[in-house]
Amino acid sequence: MSPFVMLLYLVAAVCFIVGLKRLSSPATARSGNAVASVGMLLAIVATLVFGRILSFQLIIVGVVIGSAVGAVFARTVKMTGMPQMVALLNGFGGGASALVAGAEFLRPMAAGVTMPLNTVLTIQLSVLIGGVTFSGSLIAFGKLQDLVTGRAVTYPLQKTLNALLFAATIALVVWLVISPDQLTWFVVLAGVALLLGVLSVIPIGGADMPVVISLLNSYSGLAAAMTGFVINNHGLIISGALVGASGLILTNIMCKAMNRSLGNVLFGAFGATMIEAPSITGGAKDVTVRQVGPEEAATMLAYARSVIVVPGYGLAVAQAQHVVRELADLIEPRGAEVKYAIHPVAGRMPGHMNVLLAEADVPYDKLRDMDQINPEFDRCDIALVIGANDVVNPAARSDKASPLYGMPILDVDKAHHVIVMKRSLNPGFAGVDNPLFYLENTSMFFGSAKASLEKLVAEVKEL
């Protein structure tokens, strides 16, 4: 690789770094993304121009198809569909790495030359990682899109099987390193990698997918880095490392916010508990639940001084973000101060709620992180919980028995009044009953978030 090209790649990498740095504030974030994409463009052009490319037509085909598909995805996806979108894209990234490694494996075979050992090894690894990322991400996508059941699919001997499979893979890699250029076995390896991806994601509950995805994301980053080692290209290595780091950090953040170990997320078959979710009547302890209708709720909100909206996964499902904005716009002129409390793992991916509310034109300076807002709850008149459940479950603070115990939550129960909008007393993703619903300063407002909110808006307009 000529020094000049190396420089170009360096510049591209710097673009990525700068881009990520600019992501540190919403104001500069967009330009950051632009910078990063320029970097990518640069890298691509550099490769096309100086990469001793023989046949362009094939490439052009690939590029055109890829770009088209990507563009369509990006345009059509709903904001609520972000998790699946990321999963899907991520899958393709991983797939690409695997394929590249495959190509690198075939080429010297065709040429009849034997590769240096470390090259062989890295090739194996990037096929492995790439493959797992590919199939794993697709499964994750499926689960989030409800193509595959969102439940944690468990079956006897699952772990043993996976363990065996894993062992097998290692064996294969070693074997292929010892004596390379055996196409068949290489193909087998690829197959096993795919299988491994599927089997290791299947047993994970739907709502844990984000963790899986960002983990896979970091894998695909590492896969890219691997490829970088194979074709000895620092551009790939740097970018790969960046992605790897970001993936790991996000995974870690999510686990912390759920107060669960990564191991528990991956092997805990957490979502499985959803199956035995309590009936419509919730834990069905015969404690009475105070309900409110639209009118009452409307009056409460209309005359409140300070309202904190707590959105959760339900808001996303119900696509209710715009109605929330509308409601806020109605009651703010009436003297209510409206803030939004965003739990780090509210919804189904980190920052999910922020994106939705941003889509609904909620200015981002009204969104509060958990730590900022928690002290404010006891000073607030109404906490309006919309389709959130686990992230506001006081059991996490008090009840040592609860699986959520220790998970940091939003202390909505400290508010003077709590209005919880959801369709039933059903538990949330964690599948545990929520004592919040039975507090006497809590009133339940049953119904699908969007419908309920629209009723509310109508009522408020009446007043």
Binding site: A29, L58, A96
Partner: protein, 93 residues
């Protein structure tokens, strides 16, 4: 090994930079860094461009397509999200 050095350093940069990203932007961060991981496009292009029509280059082309999906999709969708964030109160509507 020199490449390993680069890798380690890049990791450090990554950690330092990413930890500065506020929770608000974690979804864009995810999709954005995702797009960056599409950098394998480089490898894909090289693989695809080298031979003419042999197995390797076929794999390469598919790789190119996949990578492009990742890249274009990732950056565009990130931009879509961030465009929404750009709005501040006064600019509403």
């Amino acid at each position: 090994v020199i490449l390993l050095v680069i890798f380690v350093l890049a990791m450090f940069v990554g950690f330092e930079v990413i930890t500065k990203v506020p929770p608000t932007l974690h979804t864009p961060l995810m999709s954005g860094s995702n797009a960056i991981s599409g950098i394998t496009i480089i490898g894909a292009l090289l693989a695809a461009g080298r031979g003419s029509g042999d197995a390797a280059s076929i794999l390469g082309v598919i790789a190119v397509a996949f990578a492009m999906i990742n890249v274009i999709g990732g950056f565009m969708v990130t931009d879509r999200m961030l465009r929404m964030f750009k709005r501040r109160p006064e600019e509403r509507e």
